[in-house]
Amino acid sequence: MTRTPLLQVEHLTMRFGGLIAVNDISFTAYDREITAIIGPNGAGKTTVFNCLTGFYNAPVGRLRLTGARGEFLLERMDGFRIAQKGGVARTFQNIRLFPQMTVLENLIIAQHNTLMRASGYTAAGLFGLKSYRDAEREAVELARSWLDRLGLTAQADWEAGNLPYGSQRRLEIARAMCTKPVLLCLDEPAAGLNPRESGELRELLTEIRDRRRIGVLLIEHDMSVVMGISDHIVVLDYGRLIADGTPAEVRSDPAVIRAYLGEEDTDQIPPEVARNLRQGGRV
């Protein structure tokens, strides 16, 4: 299978005052692959995401997205346009659902731009034209297919904030998918999930990659998720890129082990920790 580059990050640099959060990072995420970004806390993973999705304007670097919707230079676009035009959807480290709106409404809002066009920017919707009603029905069908997939159909009319934590995580992913993205960015989707839930998450993510045929960018600390499903891993430490390769390559990279376990005594890693790391446990 030939790999199609989806997102090319070139020399991305982001400074906050004197702190260089992301320092000259270049990597490529491919279409229909799961690319994981890992690294110790404070390595700059979320900063990379925020630059990508337009929450920060990176002063240096190029973010070239070559998706089904065309080619975009994300560093030049406003935050909402990256999602609207480019088709980059994201989730957040701390869940950002619309807690007082229902589960279904959360999924419908994700289709805002499609529905806005269908409602003739409100005018047609106000008079209840058929074209808008059809568009709304389609939006509900898309939402329903996700609810069925997540097993949340019975809770469709619940307030999203009342869902259990694990369901909220999955709902946020479904909401991002409802924007019909070309690139899905997930910021620690397994945080706070129990082993069974993170197993379900792995299934969901591989399904999104294989069946929806889009690229996934993943920040994650849970090594069982990262090692189990990633096609490609990028490792950051102190804002620099220290490794880039397949899970097997990254796992045995001395620089990565050093970053996770400290500089000294690298040959003295406790055997159970090393085994854990190789087998993909949580570090």
């Binding site: 959807a89 229902t102 805002h112 409602s119 409100t122 209840g128 709304e136 469709a156 009319d157």
Partner: protein, 473 residues
């Protein structure tokens, strides 16, 4: 819960009430009959009444938490049997007697409610129940309210005074519904809403004065101008939220008022604009002797002239305007733009990540909220026939905002209840004379303690999976 602790608690409250009542109620300064100097009159009887009322009220409040229903009911009956005759002897303030009766009834009903409720758990559970009650009221009482509002002018008990009060309340209902778009749906705290009301009123007054257009031609223009000003205000405050937004909108409201006050050649300054044309019914004026060639309302319908026709007409005009505002808001809530407003209120960052344009979304909320204020302003101008900057002070914004917050943010029927409560009820407190605002304030505090999220804080989903399945509506 032992009796001694209850009594001690109530005693403490009574002591605080005593300390407050002694200077505030106990002494009154009155002019000498000749008008030279003042003298002090003591009213210790009233102080005693207030202290006893606070003691009993505090005791009743504590008893409401009591797991059994018998003591509160006993308490309520004691108040009615013993308290009322005593209060009757103090005939200064009949309102207090009424309050005591209402409070006792509430306590009795509440205790009965607790008794019949199996779980007896008060708290989160109860919030849901209140939500259901709000939904119920919204669904069934809404049409009843509308029906009542429609037949209100023809009820035998309706006097000219009550009709005027009805117009006033409906004006505030409309303003509340308009502000509900901005504050309740989009979550943008706007403290300068009255500015758009002023823009609407002055647009109508000035266009009618200088260009001679009729009310019906000016109404959309007034809405348009107000919406335009809404967008103008919207631009600088796009990046602000919460407190900061409130401060800027407050400033904007004051700017409009002060410009109107000082730009005398344009707005007439503090003298305002007078003899604003009155509205006509399909081109037929309400006038006893219309000019040549014009048929007036009473001539057309071949009835005797009555000044009340115009009042009734104004009443229906504001009723229709308010109902249009309501149905527009209800409809737009179910459209993508309305959902985007609510999403923006919940989480702006998530909205941007979903590709929702926050600028356009906020500006439309400001513009549509302002447009309704503009309509209401034009109505206000034509009803009063005279406007001046005094009518558009900050306190008006505060009252409209209070209506929205008190009603429960985003709740349409809540706005109606709150407007009746805030505008109508103070009229009934007139018997209390100088304590009117005190009673009003106490009622507000009470409501906010009793229902911190507003009278009818209930959000109806804009779409349900079950409904959406078939009709898509």
């Amino acid at each position: 819960m032992d009796v001694r602790a209850l009594l001690k608690d109530a005693g403490l409250a009574a002591f605080v009430a005593f300390m407050l009542a002694l200077p505030m109620i106990g002494f009154q300064t009155v002019d000498f009959s000749g008008g030279v100097g003042i003298t002090v009159v003591t009213r210790f009887g009233d102080v005693a009444i207030s202290v006893v009322l606070v003691f009993v009220g505090r005791l009743a409040l504590s008893l409401l938490q009591y797991p059994s229903w018998r003591p509160p009911l006993l308490m309520a009956s004691v108040v009615v049997v013993v308290g009322l005759p005593l209060l009757k002897t103090q005939a200064h303030y009949p309102v207090i007697t009424w309050l005591a009766v209402i409070a006792s009834a509430v306590i009795a009903v509440r205790s009965a409610w607790l008794h019949f409720d199996v779980s007896g758990v008060v708290g989160r559970d109860e919030n849901n129940r209140m939500g259901d009650a709000a939904a119920f009221i919204g669904r069934w009482f809404g049409p009843v309210f509308v029906l009542f509002a429609v037949i209100f002018p023809f009820l035998p008990t309706t006097s000219r005074y009550l009709l005027d009060l009805g117009i006033l309340v409906l004006t505030y209902v409309m303003l509340g519904w308009g502000l509900n778009v901005v504050v309740g749906l989009a979550g943008l705290l706007d403290l300068g809403y009255v500015a758009f009301y002023a823009v609407g009123a002055y647009s109508y007054a000035i266009i009618a004065r200088d260009f001679g257009l009729t009310f019906w031609a000016c109404l959309p223009l007034a809405g348009l101008f107000a919406a335009f000003f809404g967008v103008i205000l919207g631009f600088p405050v796009l990046r602000l939220r919460g407190d900061y937004l409130a401060i800027v909108t407050l400033g904007f409201g004051e700017i409009i008022r002060i410009v109107l006050l000082n730009w005398a050649s344009f707005s007439g300054g503090p003298n305002g604009i007078s003899s604003i044309p009155r509205p006509s019914f399909l081109g037929m004026p309400f006038h006893p002797n219309p000019p040549e060639g014009v048929t007036s309302f009473h001539q057309f319908f071949n009835i005797d002239f009555s000044a009340e026709h115009r009042i009734v007409f104004l009443y229906y005009l504001i009723l229709i305007l308010a109902l249009v505002t309501n149905s527009f808001t209800l409809r737009i809530r179910k459209l993508p733009i309305g959902r985007a407003w609510e999403a923006l209120r919940e989480d702006e960052i998530a909205c941007r990540a979903l590709g929702i344009n926050p600028t356009n979304t906020k500006l439309t909320a400001f513009a549509i909220g302002a447009m309704f204020a503009g309509f209401a302003g034009a109505f206000f101008a034509t009803r009063q026939g005279f406007i001046s900057p005094e009518s558009f002070s900050f306190i008006e914004s505060a009252v409209i905002l209070a209506i929205v917050v008190l009603g429960g943010m985003g709740s349409q029927i809540g706005v109606v209840l709150a407007a009746v409560l805030l505008i109508g009820v103070p009229e009934f407190f007139r018997e209390l004379a100088q304590f009117r605002m005190l009673a009003f304030g106490a009622a507000m505090v009470g409501i906010m303690i009793w229902r911190p999220r507003g009278l009818l804080a209930h959000r109806d989903p804009s779409i349900r999976l079950s409904d959406a399945a078939g009709a898509g509506r």
